[in-house]
Structures are given as structure tokens and as C-alpha cells.
Assembly symmetry: C2
Homo-oligomer: 503 residues x 2
């Protein structure tokens, strides 16, 4: 190593998720100087880019001398090439960490302090444990309305922002989540944009669920649009159904959500800031929030839903947004498919008015589209619902959906899974309930969402009479190993289908 901390970048091919990690040989001078007794943090500089990474030590066999290895996310963030010179130095003090400690000790932060925390997280100056600490300090109702508002603004400001000149009303919808299969968004967007609403919809990919809207749409069309492509699609068709990834709207939110889900934390303040920052950054100002309530959904009871709605309304008022929160039934899965491809099949069946379209998904989508239309027109909810029905049943929604997909790059052919297997009932009885969380887990273990064809198709509904050997669901996977792994889980969790044995 040269005196100045000059080293060469080495591609290791280690994916540590988003957290930037660097790998160095134990005998190199920097490692010896920095020590390795605690969480050692180094700043890496190259060109006009830099970040702070955590040091891992490797055997000399892993890395040539004078080279420093990078986790994949750090490699991509810095835009490195093999052998590229980088400068390594002792990490500077990250100023906003003192604001983080202030929050930990129970004090309210001002907008400036919140802004600097979000800015530092965005430029990769925080380790995952620091992000975890920030999220924990903000959870449990410890964020005031002013703090949530500041957090929302800060997240908007760290990313790209869309503007729609000449449009004073731009719409969006969001579902608080927790219900597998509840894939209403593509249907609602198709219906509402047919009626003339502008909806620049971006959706996330799944983080802990078997499919996000972006994963499902990815089965049907191109979703990884650039900001320019997204603008063009919305200008041409009035709407889009894109993935959030490439467009960079509120990107810091993605870094927070990843750690939040890993902690299985549901902080109300973070949730509100996360949702509203994405919408504000997309240029939307009229937002419909779907809140499914049920014992295995994210919102367990009405009380919880009403508290959350109050926060949404408070922050929306401060940001001059029109929002409407609607509470919906979250007691069981919606539709029959779980996983990107299976959910896409349900969406297509509804849009095409097929005979086998799941009724519950149709009705839920119509209800939400009606709510959005009534926000737009000021019509009564029943009149707006009628309008939504007319748009869907007349085939106009399907036509508009194809226009959107056409503008995004065309409709894709659905590809079937390579392997499938029936999950059968062992004994007779009535199906009392299904466990949403374990159904989602089963679909994930079969490979969803990274194998898009993997997942489940439910063959029964709550209340059905079951005979021994009857298929309860079909399991899809792209490899025999994944199918076996998921079947193993089912064998240990047969009671996720709760069947009352009839005497």
C-alpha cells in the first residue's frame, strides 16, 4: 500500500445486500492501523464518488496484495472497474449520528436534523446497525406529526422528482398491505385512467412478500422504465405501471424499508413518510389509501387503522395533498393466485372479464376504482362505482391496460412453471380458515418472487367442504429442489389450512 492509502479495486462477487462492505487482507497497513476489534468504518473515494463501508478481513488467498475487495452494492454504487485505483481513509465523523443519538435519548428532532440523517443514509454513510438504530428510535409512536412531515420532505428531496405541467390534479393509490394475492393496482389504474385520471404509478418489488405489484407487472410487460420512459408512457396513455427501482423516486426509502422489514418492524411514522414521499416525488397530489383490516393482515383492528389514517391525514394536510383512506376487509387472501405469474393470471382474467375471474378480486378492484373516480368527479360513491363497473365490463379497461403495456414495451407471453405438485387434503371436513402468512411463506419457498412462475394457485375457499385427497392448492416451482424444499415446509405446516373434521 502506498502511504496515501491508494489501493486497487478487486471484484469479489459477494452480494451482502445493500450494506457497503470492503474486504482487506489482515496484514495490510490500513487494517493494522484501523484495528479490527470493533465495527471498523472506512471511507473509500474514487473520482467524484465516495461512501463509508464496514471492513471485513480476509485471508491472503482471497485477495492479491494492494487490492481491496467490495461487496456488489458498494461496487455498483461507486461505479468501479476491475483494478481501478481507489483511496482508502479513516471514515470521517458522520455529523448526523449525533442527531440520531438525540432521537435515541427521546428528544424531538427539527427538520434540519432529520434532513441530514436522511441525506447521510442516502449517500451510504450509515451502516445497517445505524439504520436499525434510527428505525427503532422512531418506532412505537415516537415520531411527532412535524417529524413525519419533515421525514417525508427529506426523502422526497434526496431523489428525483416528477412534475406534470398543466395538470393540477395527479392521482395515485397505495395499499397498506399484508394480504397475499391482493393485486388490485393494475385493474384500478386501468379503470381510473380510462376515465381520464392521470396516474404515474410506480410500485415496489416484493421485499418480504411472494410478489409486489412490480413483480406481477414484470410478468406482463416491461416495468424497469427510466424516468424519461415513464414520462413518455404517462403522457401518451395517462398512466403507467412501472417499477420504482430505476426511476429513483425517494430512493432513501428503499434503504430504510430493507432494514425495517428485516427487523419485522412496522413503524407507523415511517410507513406514512415512505408512502407519501413516493407519491409526492412522482408529482401526485390526490391519493387513495387502501387499508385492509384483519387478524393476519398488517392492520389487526379498526383502532389501529384509524390511528394510522389520522397520521396520513395530518401529514397530507401539511404537504397540501388530498387523500382518502378506505378501510377494507383483510380477513382472507384475495384472488386465487399467489406469486408473480399466478397473480398476473388473476389480473388478466378480471380485465378480460373471463368466466374464471376471481369474484373477490373483481369486487375489490371495482370498489377502489369507484373511490378514486369519486375523488376525481365529486360524484356519489355509488354512481362512481357504477362508472367503474361500466368501464371494466365494457372491455374499455382491458383496452386501456393493453395501451399502457404497449407504451411500456408490449404485452409479454406468460411462461408456465417447469414443475408443479398438488397439495392435497388428508382428511374430510370444512375449511375454516387459511393462514395468510404461511401461505405467503410457502409461495416464497417455492421460489417466488425471483422465479416469477413460482407460487401457488388456491383450489378451495373458506367454507368449502373438503374430501380426502382433494387438491387444496397447486404449488409451482422452476426447479425440482425448490419444489421439494417448499413441499417439506407444507408437510410441517399442514395446519395452515384449518379443516374442521366433520363427525
Amino acid at each position: 500500500m502506498a502511504k496515501s492509502g491508494q489501493m486497487h479495486a478487486f471484484y469479489l462477487g459477494i452480494d451482502t445486500h445493500e450494506e457497503p462492505i470492503v474486504f482487506m487482507r489482515s496484514e495490510c497497513d490500513i487494517c493494522r492501523a484501523e484495528g479490527f476489534t470493533a465495527n471498523t468504518r472506512l471511507q473509500i473515494l474514487t473520482g467524484d464518488k465516495n461512501l463509508i463501508a464496514t471492513l471485513n478481513i480476509v485471508n491472503p488467498s482471497v485477495l492479491p496484495p494492494n487490492h481491496i475487495g467490495f461487496s456488489d452494492s458498494a461496487w455498483h454504487y461507486l461505479g468501479l472497474k476491475r483494478g481501478q485505483p481507489v483511496r482508502v481513509r479513516h471514515a470521517p465523523l458522520v455529523g448526523s449520528l449525533s442527531s440520531l443519538r438525540k432521537k435515541i435519548y427521546g428528544h424531538e428532532l427539527n427538520a434540519l436534523e432529520i434532513n441530514s440523517i436522511i441525506h447521510d443514509i442516502g449517500r451510504r454513510f450509515y451502516s445497517d446497525i445505524e439504520i436499525a438504530s434510527f428505525l427503532t428510535a422512531c418506532a412505537g409512536g415516537r415520531l411527532s406529526l412535524a417529524e413525519i412531515t419533515a421525514l417525508t420532505r427529506a426523502m422526497v428531496n434526496t431523489g428525483n422528482q416528477l412534475h406534470w405541467p398543466g395538470q393540477d390534479r395527479v392521482f395515485d393509490k397505495h395499499c397498506v398491505g399484508g394480504l397475499p394475492g391482493n393485486r388490485t393496482t393494475p385493474i384500478v389504474i386501468a379503470i381510473a385512467s380510462t376515465a381520464g385520471l392521470m396516474i404515474p404509478k410506480t410500485s415496489s418489488r416484493a421485499i418480504t412478500s411472494p410478489a409486489g405489484t412490480a413483480d406481477t407487472m414484470d410478468v406482463l410487460t416491461e416495468v424497469d422504465l427510466t424516468l424519461e420512459q415513464l414520462k413518455r408512457v404517462v403522457t401518451e396513455t395517462g398512466a403507467c405501471l412501472a417499477a420504482g427501482g430505476k426511476v429513483g423516486l425517494s430512493p432513501t426509502d428503499d434503504l430504510l424499508i430493507r432494514v425495517e422489514r428485516a427487523l419485522d418492524l412496522d413503524s407507523e411514522g415511517q410507513l406514512v413518510a415512505s408512502v407519501l414521499s413516493k407519491k409526492v416525488a412522482a408529482g401526485s397530489n390526490h391519493i387513495l389509501i387502501d387499508m385492509p383490516v384483519g387478524p393476519t393482515a398488517k392492520l389487526r383492528d379498526l383502532d389501529q387503522a384509524e390511528k394510522l389514517a389520522e397520521l396520513f391525514y395530518g401529514v397530507a394536510a401539511a404537504l397540501q395533498l388530498q387523500i382518502r383512506c378506505v378501510i377494507t376487509d383483510g380477513t382472507q387472501t384475495i384472488g386465487n393466485g399467489i406469486g408473480p405469474t399466478e397473480e398476473a393470471r388473476d389480473v388478466l382474467a378480471v380485465l378480460r372479464n373471463s368466466a374464471d375471474a376471481p369474484r373477490d378480486l373483481t369486487e375489490r378492484a371495482l370498489y377502489l376504482a369507484g373511490q378514486m373516480l369519486s375523488m376525481y368527479s365529486g360524484d356519489s360513491e355509488s354512481a362512481a362505482l357504477e362508472q367503474a363497473r361500466e368501464i371494466l365490463y365494457s372491455g374499455q379497461a382491458w383496452q386501456q391496460f393493453r395501451r399502457i403495456c404497449g407504451a411500456q414495451g408490449g404485452l409479454k407471453e406468460i411462461v408456465d412453471a417447469h414443475y408443479h405438485s398438488e397439495l392435497r387434503a388428508k382428511h374430510a371436513g370444512r375449511l375454516l380458515k387459511m393462514d395468510n402468512r404461511r401461505l405467503a411463506q410457502l409461495a416464497k419457498l417455492a421460489g417466488a418472487p425471483s422465479s416469477t412462475a413460482a407460487g401457488l394457485r388456491l383450489r378451495v375457499k373458506v367454507g368449502d367442504s373438503i374430501v380426502p385427497g382433494q387438491p387444496l392448492a397447486t404449488l409451482y416451482a422452476d426447479s425440482a429442489g425448490e419444489l421439494a424444499y417448499a413441499r417439506d415446509y407444507f408437510r410441517q405446516n399442514r395446519d395452515l389450512f384449518e379443516i374442521d373434521i366433520e363427525q
Copy 2:
């Protein structure tokens, strides 16, 4: 991969600190099944051992097929051998995480819940972000006295425990910390055990400082004793000066402290539980707590010190311990050496009554030894201080120190650093103050504590008149690169010696 999740262990030589990480090829069935969209957790089982690890994905070039790589700490925890078969499965639900969430949401935990959290952390079921979340949720005064007591008991119960039959009073001391060079422990233990006190002293290695007592003692004798060796030394000499590592007293505390220091969190509740659990596990019941107070020490003011003392007294009462908290001057470094070897030189100089023994270290050690002796004898503080002075100045303390070191394996020869360099003043003036934190940082960058000879010897004291070119300190390092790296830091931080320019 076989259907059952059977794979072979592969030694990668990647040290990720304590957090267990496993590395798998992206195309293996388990990776595909588990997905890699979030913090994926897997349980690894082999023989009667198991842990839960976070999954990182690697390029096929890094790992042969059907093999799973381990971080060094996971490798050692599981006691693996190259190629050893292991079973990999979806991580089970860690029950105590629901108690963690309860705490995050602001509820008090009962002893059972705290016990299960500490138990699960101890058996490597928590990721670092989960530990960070637990520490954050407990910081800022959010632990009640009952919770701190339960936490202390839980940490004692997860490790080894020492008992001293026939001894109703067993002593210990602890310094809350934050002052570089404040190495009183070896001197205090030598003096007090000469007077007949039993002191089974274990100390930690440095986590964020340039030297812990264990690092300093490691320069002088063998410190990595087993539990059996420790018992023998204490039985023979009445005391020991061992490292905490191998003896396994309150080992979960080490896992917590590592993350706490990385977050730069100082949670009072955690601190009290950490200190007292180590002492109770060592079988001590009379404990002296040294609390240095000063603007760059850990305790910034008297208020903070008194609040902490109150917690110590409260928990000690619940655990039936006798403790005494003493507040000492923490405004500047104690002694002249910083780093294991340089601090060891100061300790030896004091014990040998050398002419160049740092007066401040001598006086501080005598004061603390006097406090401990008065706890033992019930004598007045001044009489006990006199007794301490007599023991030190008569050479008895030095004799007892050699007995202890002899029992631990003999006195070692001190080895000089390979490189040194004077840090000189640029201009004349009076030395107003020195920045403790940056002095510590400088010593660390020179290689302390992993290079034991690395560190600093201060050549000036606050109040001294300085002439241009005068050495302020000597910097020691074991390699030219480390010396240069530390000198770089000094050049950018000359103002850590605050010199008032005399007109």
C-alpha cells in the same frame, strides 16, 4: 444439494466480526427458495450445535457446488472442519423477537422475557441489526430498575460462574472509563490483595480504546487463562489479573458491547448490567466503581455521574451486593503512556517506585486502593489510604504483583516498537489542553492495541510552556506504513494539543 438441505462446510477466511454470515452460490436451490430480497436468515445445524446466520450470495468462482462458506466466527462457534456435512434450513421463528418488539413499542418486559432475549442472543440467534435494535430500545433511560436487574441476572446465567467456598467477601473494582492511560487496575489489585482481599479480577480487551487492562497485562504476563487456571491463581495468590475472553463470564455481554460501541451508544442500563454481571459471575460481592468525570470522559458532569451511581446502588441492592461508587477527576489523561506497552511501562514504574513514575497515576491508584481497603476493614478513608501508601512504598505491592504474574505464567520481557517518531510543536506557547479522544485515535491508528508496542508517550503536561520544535509526544508503531498513517492523522489534527500562542 440433496433434498434435505445437506451441504459441505467450506473455509473461506472471511472475518465479519462476531456476526455469523454464511455464503452460498446464487444458483443453489436453497438460495433460490429463500430468495435474496431481504435479510435472509438460515439455521445451520451440525452435530449438537446450531446457529442462525445471515445469507450472503457469492459468485460460483468463490465456492464449489454443494458447499456453504462461513464467516470465521460462525466457523469457530460451530467448531467446523473443512468439508464437514452441515444441514441448512429455513430459520425458525425466534420467539424472543416478539418481546423485543414489545420493548420497542415502549412496554416494560418481565424477567422471563428479558431472559429469553439474552438466551437467544447468546446462542447466536440474533443478527447484528436485531441486537442494535434491542440496544436502542433499551437506551435513553428506557430500562426500569427491575429490568436492569433481570438483565444482569440473565447475563450471569448464560455463562460460567465462579464460587469461592469459605469466602464470604470477594472484591472487585471497575472503572466506567473514557480516560486514556488510566491504568490503575494492576496497581490497585496488587496493593489490595497484599492486604488480604480476595480479588478474582478479569478485564476486557480494548473495544474502541487503544488498550484495555487485559491488553496492558498481556504485555507483562499470560492473561488468557482458562477457568481452572484462574481459580488456581486466585487460590494461590488471593488475586488474578486475567483477560475475560476464555473464562466465559457473562459472555453475552461481549456480544452486546461490540454492537453498542459500534453505535457509540452509552446506555446507562446496559452499562450497569454489563459491569455487575461480570462481577457476580466471577463470584464477587463487594465492588468499587471508579467514575471519572470530565468534558471528554464518558461521564461529562456530576449530574450524569450521580444518576448512574443511583442505578448502580439500586441494582446492587436487588442482587445483595455491597458497592461503593467514587467520583474522580476525568479532565485529562492519567500517566504518560497510551497503548498496551506504554501503559505497562507506567504501571511497572509505579509498582517499582521508580523516579520517573507518573505522579498522577500513583496518586489515583493509591486513592482507589484506599477506598477498597476501607470497604474491607471499615477503617477511615484516610487510615486506609495510609495503609495503601505503606504497601506500595515498602515494595510489598511490587512483590505481590510479581507473585500474581508468576502464578499466571511469569513476567514477560517488554519488547520495544520497531519504529518511532517525535510529534513536535510548531510554535511556542502554553499547553492549554489535550483532546483525550483524538489522542486515543492517534494511538489506535499507530496500531494499538493489536500491535502491543504501538502507541504514544506524552512528553508534556497541561500548563507546560512549549518551545518550537519541542517533542509533544513520541509515536510508536511496528511498521513504517502504520507510522505514516498515524502521522498523517496528526498533521490533520495538530490542534488536539491546544497551545495558546504567547504574545
